[in-house]
């Protein structure tokens, strides 16, 4: 059975969805069978990076959680419908999107859903798609579905920006992951602005959280400009951001 990798950040705006989509694409490029679930039902976003919008989005995680379809029916096969992401054509990569329709988002936030059903769905798609790696793009903060994602993870990757509030929030996430016996924990820094001694910071972060810091990804305006509609690590493989991201990919691949 494959591994579940949750990508989390305590606060929004860390570039979590962008990192998750690029990591998933890179692992799929390595020939693995990969799923990506958007459990950020309050503010979904990762679908855009795989070319989905209102016009071509089929069933969603919301439909599954409301009993309207099976989890298999939510799958969007990126390998069969790669569009401009031609490198991903024929790869084993499926996206399980959250609804982007306003009334469906407000409905699920108002009525809630059975967290056990989400859990069952995730376990089912792991086996039905015979996944090597399931990435869960979580909602920032520590609400119930995020806690579930962390609880069932084989690997939790916490993304932080180098600032005081993220340092504090990450400490809590790390404590929760340990309390929930997550077997593997990694940290990564995104949006690293120039002007700081990042070698020094790596040592300090690893000391403070007792977890490996696998990548420090630079803030790049070129990247920020097209991050939301393009898989940057595929279109700019030699960019420092992409090279650092591949370090994280390699670390994910060696986790048992």
């Amino acid at each position: 059975m494959g591994k579940i990798v949750s990508i989390h950040s305590f606060r929004g705006g860390t570039g979590k969805s962008n990192v998750t989509a690029n990591l998933a694409a890179q692992v799929a490029m390595a020939g693995k069978r990969v799923g990506v679930v958007d459990t950020d039902i309050q503010s979904p976003g990762i679908h855009v990076l795989f070319g989905l919008d209102e016009t071509n989005m089929g069933n969603t995680l919301n439909d599954f959680l409301h009993g309207k379809c099976t989890i298999r029916e939510v799958a969007f096969s990126v390998g069969e419908d790669a569009g401009q992401r031609t490198q991903l054509a024929g790869k084993y990569l499926w996206l399980f999107p959250s609804s982007i329709r306003g009334h469906e988002i407000s409905q699920i936030l108002r009525d809630g859903f059975d967290i056990n059903l989400l859990n069952a769905g995730l376990q089912t798609l792991m086996s039905e798609f015979d996944l090597d790696c399931l990435f869960i793009d979580t909602h920032p903060g520590l609400n119930e579905e995020t806690l579930l994602s962390i609880a069932i993870s084989d690997l939790l990757i916490v993304i932080l920006r180098p600032d005081i509030q993220d340092f504090q929030g990450t400490a809590v996430t790390v404590d929760i992951a340990r309390s929930l016996d997550v077997p593997n924990l990694m940290l990564m820094v995104n949006k690293a602005v120039p002007g700081y001694d990042y070698d020094d910071l790596k040592g300090q972060i690893e000391g403070a959280y007792k977890a490996p810091l696998t990548g420090i990804l630079p803030l790049d305006f070129e990247l920020a400009g097209n991050a939301s509609k393009d898989l940057f690590s595929l279109s700019n493989p030699l960019h420092p951001w992409s090279m650092e991201l591949r370090k994280v990919t390699e670390a994910i691949l060696v986790v048992p």
Binding site: M1, I115, N119, Q123, L142, E144, L147, L148, A151, I152, P162, I164, F167, Q168, A171, V172, D175, I176, S179, L180, D181, P183, G195, Y196, D197, D200, L201, Q204, I205, A208
Partner: protein
């Protein structure tokens, strides 16, 4: 009067090694002129055929910018010399001169200067020797600046402080020595470059993840104290055990 004029001429490095009799001869040829405030001595582009020595007062060295407005390049005062190269070459004036106040000057015309040179070949030799010495001196500067430029390119600023510009070793150099000015500017520039570089290095700051441990504990307890969390923890343990068995 002429003795006084000869003394003025001796201060000019072109003539400073001339014997007194030659200086006296030169002094007879120079013409004293008084410029009133704002009087133009010559304009940029004029044909230059005289050398001027300022005895008292001040003048400005001016040129025009691309819009035709006046740009002051320098201000020159008593004891300084203007347009000396025009005595030997025939180039037009590279800048104009305007009196800033009532200014007293000495003018030496090229034809008078040449006349003396023809009569007194010793004086020509003396002027040539002087020019040659200035050239050698300037070549020394150029070599020094070349070497220092190479060191700056490598990020080596160690020569600041350890090297004295050659200017300071040579007693006779005067303020109007343009290559000396270049040298001084070069040192100022290198110092500026080094300071900016150090400032940039300082900006690479250390960032320390400061964590409020009390707050960390408090938030952790808020999250983990719910029934949901207790159930989740139990469920997660069960799931992990199942998945371990499946592997």
């Amino acid at each position: 009067m002429e003795r006084n004029t000869a003394a003025q001429l001796k201060k000019i490095n072109w003539f400073d090694e001339l014997p007194d009799d030659m200086l006296a001869e030169l002094a007879q040829k120079v013409r004293k002129r008084i410029l009133s405030e704002d009087e133009i001595l010559f304009n940029k582009g004029d044909v230059g055929d005289s050398l001027f020595v300022i005895i008292s007062g001040r003048v400005k060295v001016v040129t025009q910018d691309s819009q035709g407005s006046e740009v002051v390049l320098n201000k020159v005062g008593a004891g300084e010399i203007i347009g000396e190269m025009a005595l030997l070459d025939h180039e037009p004036r590279s800048a104009g001169i305007v009196a800033l106040e009532k200014t007293s000057i000495l003018e030496l015309k090229r034809e008078d200067f040449m006349g003396i040179l023809k009569e007194k070949p010793d004086m020509a030799l003396s002027v040539i020797r002087n020019l040659s010495s200035r050239l050698r001196h300037n070549t020394g500067y150029i070599e020094q600046i070349t070497e220092m430029s190479r060191r700056v390119a490598r990020g080596d600023y160690s020569f600041i402080g350890e090297t004295q510009p050659v200017q300071k070793r040579r007693k006779k150099v005067r303020d109007q020595d343009k290559i000396g000015q270049l040298m001084a500017e070069f040192f100022t520039m290198v110092q500026g470059v080094r300071e900016r570089e150090e400032e940039l290095k300082m900006q690479v700051q250390k960032l320390t993840p400061q964590i409020d441990e009390a707050k960390r504990k408090q938030v952790f307890e808020e999250i983990t104290s719910t029934d949901f969390y207790a159930g989740l923890k139990k469920q997660a343990q069960k799931l992990r055990a199942q998945r371990r068995d499946n592997k």
